[in-house]
Symmetry: C2
Subunit: 413 residues, 2 copies
Amino acid sequence: MSLGFLDLRVVESSAFIAAPLAGLTLAQFGADVIRVDMIGGGIDYGRLPVMPSGRSLYWTGLNKGKRSFAVDLRKPEGRELVRALVTAGGDSGGVLLTNIGTPWLAHESLAGKRADVISCTIQGNADGTTAVDYTVNCATGYPLVTGGGTMEKPVNHVLPAWDIACAYQAAFAILAAVDRRRRTGSGAELKLALSDVALTMLSHLGVLAEAELLGEDRPSIGNHIYGAFGRDFGTADQKRVMVAGISAGQWASLVKACGIQREVETLETSMQRDFSKEADRYEARDAIAALFEPWFAARPLEEVERTLQEHRVCWGLYRPVTDLLANDSRVSDANPVFSRIQTPGVGAHLAAGNAVRATGAPPGLTGPAPLLGQHTDEVLSEVLGLDSGAIGRLHDHSIVAGPERDPTGGARE
Amino acid sequence: MSLGFLDLRVVESSAFIAAPLAGLTLAQFGADVIRVDMIGGGIDYGRLPVMPSGRSLYWTGLNKGKRSFAVDLRKPEGRELVRALVTAGGDSGGVLLTNIGTPWLAHESLAGKRADVISCTIQGNADGTTAVDYTVNCATGYPLVTGGGTMEKPVNHVLPAWDIACAYQAAFAILAAVDRRRRTGSGAELKLALSDVALTMLSHLGVLAEAELLGEDRPSIGNHIYGAFGRDFGTADQKRVMVAGISAGQWASLVKACGIQREVETLETSMQRDFSKEADRYEARDAIAALFEPWFAARPLEEVERTLQEHRVCWGLYRPVTDLLANDSRVSDANPVFSRIQTPGVGAHLAAGNAVRATGAPPGLTGPAPLLGQHTDEVLSEVLGLDSGAIGRLHDHSIVAGPERDPTGGARE
């Protein structure tokens, strides 16, 4: 069961990451998210990684807890059904989430059917040109300062961070517009460009003003934390940990845990710095790291872990996802945020519910991703009020389809 | 002027990135966000980068468009004022956003004053232990696959991506709870752990199921895009571009722009692949990249840019932030999402408003970050209804302070 905060229906026509993740966010708080797809699946339905069945773990991860409506989007009758779904319902309906600009779903046209419709369109660039996470990220300067990156050898992030930020920002914007509609009755046409998400973040994080006012680009400092002290260290048994001494308390506990108070004081004196100030720790980061290195290098992870935990140090262990899954209880049934679900065409697996916990409420679990068209008939009946005869005719004319037309054959599982 | 969608007051007691960015998000949609700080500033008030005045570009970036209430949080009277601010107001008030767990702001205690209060607490780990972006990121596996990272040499991201995701998720959760309160009258105690934000994302992106069901960790493939074709290429004049051929259309336009249709067909035949399928392009990524490399290496950026744009290729240029600011009109007054603002202690600079654009509404601009205590008196008067005598007594007893006590002396500007 989702964290049932929302009384809202959202029609999602989407591909890739940002828009589907926005829809997932809404679904995880209780929205009825109806994902509309071309019969046979959209552009990203078979994206890697895939199961032997052909079912995509990428698609099924991003589309958990939604309903699927499969329709022939090339046919006028199919398009009219989608427009009817978007504009149906009272206060709880009338919301479109999309990253696929198409004239027959244009806001103005939808507003002709329902004046208070809310549409949120995710774009690449605001001028309508195409952009994806990777082609936006290169403009932000981050690849030139990540992992010792340079202009000759920039380092792309692998986590699609801008898609993620864009997704949550879009989901938030929809709720804000719904809130306003409840108060004022007005709809809204919202547009959000992925590039604007990234470029505005540079302002929020102070990086843009730094470039403008101080004429400085953030330095490329590898795994050091900018502005304070923190870095990765190797243990005697070839494990690796990240430690952070950002706040004064974190710093003090780290120094104490490693028992190098005297060495640190000596360094402070010789460098004429005050390491209770994070900026001074940052300035002296290499010299400080050299004091910590031997401590970690001399101890196996087990001892490092025990000591850091005893002293409440802020730290973490580097590990691949397979190791995380096998050995970190935060990613297991022991964490109420996770549960085991059964996804058609995939099987049973651990999956994340809502990361937000509400005291006194059951955990916000999320159902599996649907098969394509799994909810076509119930949506036609519940939302559009069609009877079984009308629904049958739509199938007969191949305007809609049920799960039997899912190309991954997941229906057979 | 903010995009005035929300009729909401939020009291923010925070530090670092996630909670302040959540507050900024709410402010940019019209919420009255009152940031409560210790007189003289909290733990991150002077964080790098700083202006010669001592004013932090980091803090002023994250706290644009908020009101500042400076108060002695050690004094019982100061704490009582903050509790009164949190619980004041009708439907539009009663919301606390924090990442600082403190008993006198505990939800239960606030609910004793106002039953329908909504609190959202951002934590490190759900068990209350400390964690920051960097110590969470190492657990996600991403540092082992970013920039050719390995266990011996992991690559931390520099963008605090998990803080950003956490911020937007928290802001969304608050709106969802407000929406529910408007309908049902119920408050909510919300908790969100940074580690849960990151670890649940592994499920949403399919990475967790991949590890569990296929026993595979994502490979470390440098700047290649996973699952499709895309990579960075150097130009004749030592510039560098990122190109993406994720969709079939993007791929076709890229091949056409570079005029290597024949070479690509020959490669397809020799490798027995079908490059209209993104998975096949991904498999053959190195061989494909070798076909593109000479085209880019033979041309200066100017020609590369012109040709890629003519063919509507999905691409971007790597550049540091200083170059972005000087040469990319997306980060300038020409983009309505940005405007020039005057921040006390900082001066005039370009700053980002709301990345979301609402058709027919003026751009969602955001005012500058306040001086500490800049709005203390007006908040006491407007929100708590105190008269000037009462406000004066609070100053006399050093329970509250105005901007004259801002340690950066910004008030003198």
